[in-house]
Amino acid sequence: MTRPGRDEDPDRLYTVTGGRSRSTTGADTFDLVTLVVSESAPVRGMQSEHAAILRICRFPTAVVELASDLGLPVSVVRILLGDLLAQGKITARHPRRARTADALPDPDILKQVLVGLRNI
């Protein structure tokens, strides 16, 4: 947490999300390890959390790391990410997509692994 003392931030979470408690994009769009990449720079007048997300996500960042960096619950971060995604300011990458497609890794990769291990 980013709060050393007791509740040192006057912002309440419902004001951060504008009263929403559910992500508009659905729960499966962002899971904990979804990598988020910002597609545009923060602009002046943006909500500070949005700007912070865009700054942090200049390089792919997992949702859970975002939540930790922002000091916000993951659910709230999801809502914020949903906003940004709807505006097209970020893209989400699903790291496990390739693996869930088929249970086993690509034989080529396995081959590369083998070669690599030998080279080590």
Partner: protein
């Protein structure tokens, strides 16, 4: 002749306010008694009449005798009778005249004395009404007891006034006691509710962090909102009863947080639209008051506008401070209403007599505005409703920017140690003499980053140029360098393979010069002579980087030359290479 004596002035000097010397207790308030006038006047009249009778008898008698003795002998009896009768009649007439004259004079004197006394009594009454009673009431309002107030009161001129004053003092004292007791009870209750609301807010925030379930979060947010509204009402009562403000913020609060903190305390916060690009922050001691004031004004705006319309909040930085405009699309306030609202927020009296019972908002706003030197003015809004302008004076502002969302560790001292050890494990600096520099510049940039985010970026950039690939600490992206755990962060998107390539690109000799405790493992891994030793020493990501490098062949030299080695990995963040 004996004129009736003028009534002496009342002994106690009831007409003179200067008689304020402290006298003993209530017994001092004694009416002064006037001496009786009519008896003296009556005596004077009788004496005067007798004197007149005596003189007239003597004169008439003498005249009679002279007339009798000077007249002829024959006519003496007739003359005697005649003059005697005439003398008697004359005496009677003179006596009656003298008596009437004296009586009228004495009555006139009595009337004028009565008038004088009446005027004096009137003056005394006036003084009692205008001087004594207000003085006693004022003394009681200042907190004196009834006895003290009566003792200090100027003396009164009559028993009736004394009784009136005593019963008045007792009543006012009782009322004052009740008022004070009610105020302190309210203040105390408000303070307790404030404390409860504050601790509940902290608890709710903690729960919001703990429960990831969206349903639970929704409920918690709802509770949080209700709690914030409750806290605002408690704050309002505390402000009106003169208790101290509920919360104090130790640090300056940026404008965005101020506005959101304010809107979070009203029921219709979802209708509030913030338009703020201001970076200013409000000093911690005033932040709570400003937030509360804005919340009350926003609440007014939201309550007095249609439920579907929005309330717009604009922030404008001006020379004299910051002007916050709250505009609603509700009813246009008439001239009278505007004036009354203006009066309510700028009235200089501190009592609650104008409080209507249900509309506390503007009274609270007035109190807070006076306390913090804010100016509040109302005007018709361009949105069709009413606009409120709040000017926050420059004294309450600081230019502190919002904290970076990924906060730097406040203490930079612990940071170098883990960074050094981690760096040693994955990417040892090429030479020994570089490392202290980087270690030193890391915390420096880090520390500066908390105060001014713009400058450290520049510093980091300079450091990057100067130290090239040598300073791993400088290779981190400008927004964040270290995680909150104090550990350095790997730059996003830069694979550990690049780190490893950079490692491979650095010469063997340089690496052998670096820290002896890790050198063996590093060399072994790079040489490929003892993979097991390398694996044991290095994080899995780095091992994988080596593997990747092995697959792809040696890293191309230009990349390792241009891209500085990234900051070492956190053990918690796995490389995306693992998952792709």
């Amino acid at each position: 002749m004996t004129s009736p004596e003028i009534a002496p002035p009342p002994a106690a000097g009831a007409g003179q306010p200067a008689a304020g010397s402290a006298q003993p207790v209530t017994g001092s308030i004694q009416p002064t008694v006037h001496a009786g006038q009519p008896a003296a006047a009556g005596d004077g009249t009788a004496a005067g009449t007798a004197l007149a009778l005596l003189i007239s008898v003597v004169v008439a008698g003498a005249a009679c005798l002279i007339a009798v003795y000077s007249s002829a002998e024959s006519a003496r009896a007739g003359v005697a009778w005649g003059t005697g009768a005439a003398g008697a009649v004359l005496c009677a007439a003179v006596t009656v005249a003298a008596h009437a004259r004296l009586t009228s004079r004495s009555l006139r004197a009595a009337v004028s004395a009565g008038q004088t006394r009446l005027a004096e009594r009137e003056a005394a009454d006036n003084y009692f009404a205008d001087g004594t009673v207000p003085a006693v009431v004022e003394r009681l309002r200042r907190g004196g007891s009834a006895e003290t107030a009566l003792a200090e009161a100027p003396p009164v001129s009559s028993e009736a006034q004394r009784r009136v004053l005593i019963s008045l003092a007792r009543e006012v004292h009782r009322g004052e006691n009740m008022r004070a007791a009610a105020m302190s009870a309210c203040a105390n209750a408000a303070g307790r509710v404030q404390a409860l609301a504050t601790s509940m807010a902290a608890d709710l925030r903690e729960m919001e962090h703990r429960h990831a379930d969206e349903d639970v979060l929704a409920d918690l947010l709802e509770l949080d909102h209700r709690n914030a509204q409750m806290g605002r009402i408690a704050d309002s009562i505390a402000v009106l009863t003169g208790a101290r403000s509920g919360r104090r913020w130790a640090k300056p609060i940026v404008m965005e947080s101020i506005l959101r903190g304010a809107m979070g305390r009203i029921s219709g916060y979802q209708r509030v639209r913030l338009h703020s690009t201001s970076e200013v922050a409000i000093a911690g001691h005033a932040a709570e008051g400003v937030m509360h004031l804005l919340a009350e004004l926003m609440d007014n705006a939201a309550n007095f506008s249609p439920p579907t319309s929005e309330v717009h909040v604009y922030v404008e930085e001006v020379a004299a401070g910051v002007v916050i405009t709250i505009e609603d699309g509700g009813l246009v306030m008439g001239e009278v209403a505007l004036r009354r609202a203006q009066q309510a927020v700028s009235a200089d009296h501190g009592d609650l007599t104008t409080l209507s019972g249900t509309r506390l908002g503007l009274a609270v706003v007035g109190r807070l505005a006076r306390k913090h030197g804010l100016s509040v003015s109302f005007r018709p809004s361009a949105h069709g409703g009413t606009g409120v302008l709040v000017r926050i004076p420059r004294e309450l502002l600081t230019e502190r920017r919002r904290e970076e969302p990924a906060p730097m560790p406040p203490a930079a001292e612990p940071a170098p140690a883990p960074r050094a050890s981690l760096g040693a494990q994955s990417t040892p600096p090429p030479t020994d003499h570089v490392r202290p520099v980087t270690e030193h510049s890391g915390p420096a940039a880090d520390h500066a980053g908390q105060q001014d985010p713009a400058r450290p970026a520049q510093q980091r950039a300079e450091g990057h140029d100067q130290q090239g690939s040598g300073g791993y600490a400088n290779a981190a992206p400008p927004p964040q360098v270290y995680g909150e755990s104090g550990l350095p962060k790997r730059r996003r998107g830069q694979t550990l393979a690049a780190v490893a390539r950079a490692t491979a690109a650095s010469s063997q000799t340089e690496r052998s010069q670096s820290g002896a405790e890790h050198g063996a493992g590093e060399e072994a891994a790079a040489d490929g002579t003892s993979p097991a030793a390398g694996r044991a020493k290095r994080p899995s990501g780095t091992r994988f980087g080596d593997f990747r490098r092995a697959v792809q062949g040696t890293g191309d030299p230009e990349e390792s030359g241009t891209s500085s080695p990234s900051s070492p990995t956190r053990s918690s963040s796995l490389s995306e290479d693992d998952t792709e």
